[in-house]
């Protein structure tokens, strides 16, 4: 454990409340990954551009590499693990699978979080709205074409072949 200042926090993670002692300087993404063993949020850059670390925070989406772990105090955090908490993939995940919306899978957790938020706000998004909704999530494998298709299909709209 880091020798610097520490703080006790309480927050809700994927529906369960918990208490933890946090080093003040630890980033949220490192706390979620290294201390809590969650694989969903991932690290892909140093500057908050790639979005692989995206999680839900008090209803919105945030990049967990751009937040200190102590800032989780009093917050409701959800990670991609919550989408299949009963063991099965949800409809959004299933749509990504059907439409080949992932290749290496590294951006996928963040992409799912952003897609989920987008669809909550815009249940029937246009292609342009989808692209804007995932603008904060970089993918280097898919060229985004099938991700856009997967999200559109998940919203119940027709997708062309």
């Amino acid at each position: 454990m880091d020798k610097g200042p520490v703080h006790d926090i309480e927050f809700t993670l994927n529906g369960e409340t918990r208490s933890d002692r946090i080093a003040a300087r630890q980033l949220l993404v490192h706390f979620l990954r290294d201390d809590l063993g969650l694989r969903g949020p991932k690290i892909g850059c140093d500057t908050g551009h790639c979005g692989a670390c995206t999680v839900r925070y008090d209803g919105g989406t945030i990049k967990s590499c751009m937040m200190l772990a102590v800032q989780a105090d009093g917050a409701e955090i959800t990670t991609v693990e919550s989408m299949s908490s009963d063991g099965d993939m949800n409809d959004l995940q299933e749509s990504f699978r059907q439409h080949h919306g992932l290749q290496c899978g590294y951006c996928t957790s963040g992409m799912l979080m952003s897609s989920q938020f987008l669809l909550e706000r815009k249940p029937k998004p246009t292609e342009q709205e989808i692209r804007a909704g995932i603008q904060g999530n970089l993918c280097r494998c898919t060229g985004y074409v099938n991700i856009v298709k997967a999200i559109k299909a998940a919203s119940g709209q027709e997708v062309s072949r």
Binding site: Q26, G44, Q93, Q98, H100, Q103, Y106, C139, G143, V145
Partner: protein, 820 residues
């Protein structure tokens, strides 16, 4: 030479279907295992201290303050590494001497970001803090960053042993370029073309978890390196260990694109750190480190390009001087110096080619095989040549290409340097892609836009994705190299209860090998793909492998799949033999279907695979002794590609087995006032022969296209004159977001390869075609008196410069000499 194998697809049912992937569920549920998801008890965290200078002497290194920080476990310096290792293997040393590279910087650093010290600490944070306490004194030296300038004998010398900064040079000369020059009706001369430095920048950076066990002396390496066996060949002799001591393991990898071939130096030095510390070592590369030192794509300058052309538009060939800027050290290079010749004439019937090739070292990050490796740079230059000839001599770019293309009836087509293009239909692909972007409508829109302040352009890019290369081409660079041919391995087995399992030598980073492999195996073994377990990732103790095993260079569809087919056929044969005995039938009567071996047409006589496995593994007294000792139900097959050794004198031979083709069309709109290029439409027609899983193929096409679009308009690695990298993380290196990539229209043609067995060809690198197409589209939008597009990277400022050109004809970058 290469005898054509049968062309019909051997496996008819699951193969060819767009099955959703088996890999996806775990990845979607965040249950994938990437390196950073793993840990070893008592591991420490490593951090590299890197040179801030592009070129400097290392005067002194003092780690004492760092070691005194609580929580620091061990440090390792360049001097220590030099004392315990030999320099790294060099592929093509010059007679006068070679580069001496160690696993850490020794005596001198030669690029900004070169590692000089590595340290290990109890936590990530302490490792990072300790790095600030390491004191390195440098004496800066003069810097050379330009690959052409570096060829001058008075440029600052990087490596004493080389004598100058030319790491490799050679003349490639096929046909009769002098005859062509004399007899041409026109000679189009281009001053210079420049292919820029960039990288695929996978979202997951390099990472590894290493433990050198003092008891067994086994070095366990969990990493995301995509070709660790290649790395082992380089670092094992340096470290004085056997390759058998390495236990490589990988599971899920977050993109590789060739860049993750390069992390072998880190594997080596972190192994040494683990041994010294007596602790496991975890290292996750920072994005900034990745850009500084992870590896860049080849940067290549083409000079004095001369293209002889006949009056009817037939292009006879070309001659040029090439300078490849390999960066400070040769990693995998200089193989790039010959690999481009797999596609020496590009997609065309050029007969006379002369290339004077120099590979130089400069104070930049080492170049590594980035997606499209070495062929893409050359193919871009050829497309610029063809496009420029069309513009300067007033030919239609479409018709000029069709005239010069290798024609469908020419295949298999032997190029001037002995490569054999297996199959294809370039004219049909070109027609199809023009259809996809509605060529006529674009031309109308282009006219309508004139004078509005926005100009529209249409560009074509024809490219080849040569796959399954003959490693013998390395001998063209150095006849002493003991490398040749290619292949891949697979083991197919029944487990104790009859479960079907495959282990592969390949190391996928998102290409869906588990799914493709299952489809092919399912067809041979008469089951559904769900009933085939493909062992995830690579495990050296477990997976079948040979020296070429890995995933790179667009070859899985050929080498990987053929290894799988071979192994499954062997397994099928053994199952059949045992079943024939058990059912009292002849082998010819046995068929495999629905997880059973059964007598054709007799529903009563069948035995499930569990029964077969039982007899061989746990009940072998029921079998005749000869049969029990003959079958193992664990069948390893190595697919060997039927290659010959190339002629190193003439630099001639069949260097690659298959050639996929991609034809791209880009429609751009240029803002006259800003030079900004917007993509209005984009289409690709891909021909990779028989498609094993069309949905996966299309996904690769999308991804390669996005990489090319990003490189063409947004991504570049630029250095300032002091050798400082300006784009050292995503603050200044801009991969495209979903808003920056248009919808990509795709079409496909299947010209089965006569050489690959299934008809499939390797694909996935994409040949950089968007760079070709977008440059052509920009050229098409410019006025005839504006300069030629001569750089592969065209951000707004460069295009603005082209638009604003007000100099004379000499400054356009091209001249035409017309005879009679």
């Amino acid at each position: 030479m290469t005898a054509p194998a049968q062309t019909e697809i051997k496996t008819p049912t699951w193969t060819g279907q767009s099955l959703p992937r088996k890999e996806d569920e775990r990845l979607l549920k965040a249950q994938g295992a990437f390196v950073d998801d793993e840990g070893i008890y008592r591991m420490g965290y490593a951090h590299f201290v890197r040179s801030p200078y592009a070129h400097a002497e290392i005067v002194s290194v003092d780690v004492s303050k760092a070691e005194a920080l609580g929580g620091v476990i061990a440090t390792l310096t360049g001097d220590e590494v030099k004392a315990m290792t030999e320099p790294l293997f060099q592929f093509a040393p010059k007679p006068e001497g070679q580069i001496e590279e160690y696993l850490l910087g020794v005596d001198r650093v030669r690029y900004q970001g070169e590692a000089v010290v590595v340290l290990l600490a109890e936590t990530r944070e302490i490792a990072r803090d300790a790095a600030d306490l390491v004191e390195v004194e440098y004496k800066p030296l003069p810097v050379v960053i330009d690959g052409v300038d570096a060829a001058d004998s008075d440029s600052p010398l990087l490596h004493e042993g080389l004598g100058n900064n030319i790491a490799w040079e050679g003349l490639f000369d096929w046909g009769d370029i002098d005859w062509a020059m004399e007899n041409a009706d026109h000679v189009v001369k281009i001053d210079s073309l420049h292919f820029h430095r960039y990288s695929s920048t996978p979202i997951e950076c390099n990472a590894m978890l290493i433990n050198w066990d003092p008891g067994t002396d086994i070095i366990r390496v969990v990493s995301n390196n995509q070709f660790p066996l290649f790395g082992a060949l380089v670092i094992a002799p340096s470290m004085g260990v056997g390759v058998d001591q390495f236990d490589f393991r990988s599971q899920d990898i977050g993109g590789g694109f060739g860049i993750k071939i390069n992390s072998y130096t880190q594997i080596g030095v972190l192994s040494l750190l683990s041994r010294k510390a007596g602790r496991p070592v975890k290292w996750t590369e920072y994005r900034t480190e990745h850009h500084l030192s992870g590896g860049h794509g080849n940067e290549r300058t083409f000079r004095n390009i001369e293209i002889p052309v006949m009056a009817d538009g037939t292009i006879l060939g070309f001659k040029m001087d090439v300078f490849d800027n390999a960066g400070a050290y040769l990693h995998y290079e200089p193989l790039g110096a010959v690999i481009w010749s797999q596609v020496a004439p590009g997609a065309y019937r050029f007969k006379n080619i002369q290339v004077d090739y120099k590979e130089t070292v400069t104070n930049k990050c080492p170049a590594v095989p980035n997606r499209g490796y070495s062929r893409m740079q050359h193919l871009w230059a050829i497309e610029r040549m063809v496009d420029t000839v069309a513009h300067e001599l007033d030919f239609d770019p479409v018709e000029l290409r069709k005239l010069n293309y290798v024609q469908p009836e020419d295949y298999p087509y032997t190029t001037p340097n002995g490569c054999v293009y297996d199959s294809g239909n370039l004219p049909a692909a070109l027609d199809a892609v023009l259809d996809l972007i509605d060529h006529d409508a674009v031309r109308k829109a282009q006219k309508a836009a004139e004078g509005t302040g926005k100009r529209i352009g249409l560009g074509i890019g024809t490219t080849l994705d040569s796959g399954t290369n003959n490693f013998g081409q390395a001998r063209i660079l150095n006849p002493e190299l003991p490398f040749s041919g290619n292949g891949e391995a697979c083991t197919a087995k029944l487990d104790l209860y009859g479960e079907i399992m495959l282990t592969l030598g390949t190391i996928p980073q998102g290409q869906g090998h588990e799914t493709s492999a299952s489809q092919v195996a399912a067809d041979i073994l008469g089951v559904s793909p769900e009933e085939v377990r493909v062992w995830t990732g690579f495990d050296k103790g477990h997976s079948a492998y040979i020296g070429f095993s890995g995933t790179y260079a667009s070859q899985f569809a050929v080498t990987g799949i053929n290894a799988i087919i071979g192994a499954c056929e062997k397994l099928a044969a053994e199952i059949t033999e045992v079943a024939a005995f058990a059912l009292g039938a002849s082998e010819e009567e046995i068929e495999l279907a629905e997880g059973m071996a059964r007598v054709r047409g007799d529903a009563e006589r069948e035995i499930p695979y569990i029964g077969i496995a039982n007899m061989v593994y746990a009940n072998n007294a029921v079998l005749p002794y000869e049969l029990a000792t003959k079958v193992s139900l664990t069948c390893r097959h190595v697919y060997v590609v039927p290659f010959d050794l190339p002629d190193t004198e003439k630099k001639y031979g069949n260097l690659t087995l298959t050639y996929s083709t991609q034809t791209h069309a880009a429609v751009v709109e240029i803002d006259d006032e800003t030079g900004k290029v917007k993509l209005l439409d984009y289409a690709v027609v891909d021909d990779c022969g028989t498609r094993l899983n069309p949905m996966l193929v299309e996904g690769q096409v999308h991804g390669a296209t996005a990489h090319g679009i990003g490189a063409a308009l947004r991504e570049t690695f630029e250095y300032d004159e002091d050798g400082q990298l300006l784009n050292n993380n995503f603050l200044f290196y801009h991969p495209p977001t979903a808003v920056d990539v248009p919808h990509i229209k795709t079409g496909s043609i299947e010209s089965p390869s006569p050489f690959s067995g299934t008809g499939a060809k390797g694909m996935g690198e994409g040949g950089g075609a968007p760079l070709h197409a977008i440059c052509a589209a920009i050229q098409d939008a410019l006025d005839p008196e504006m300069p030629i597009v001569n750089d592969s990277h065209n951000p707004p400022e460069r295009v603005f410069g082209l638009l604003g050109y007000d100099g004379g004809a000499d400054g356009r970058g091209v001249t035409v000499e017309s005879r009679g």
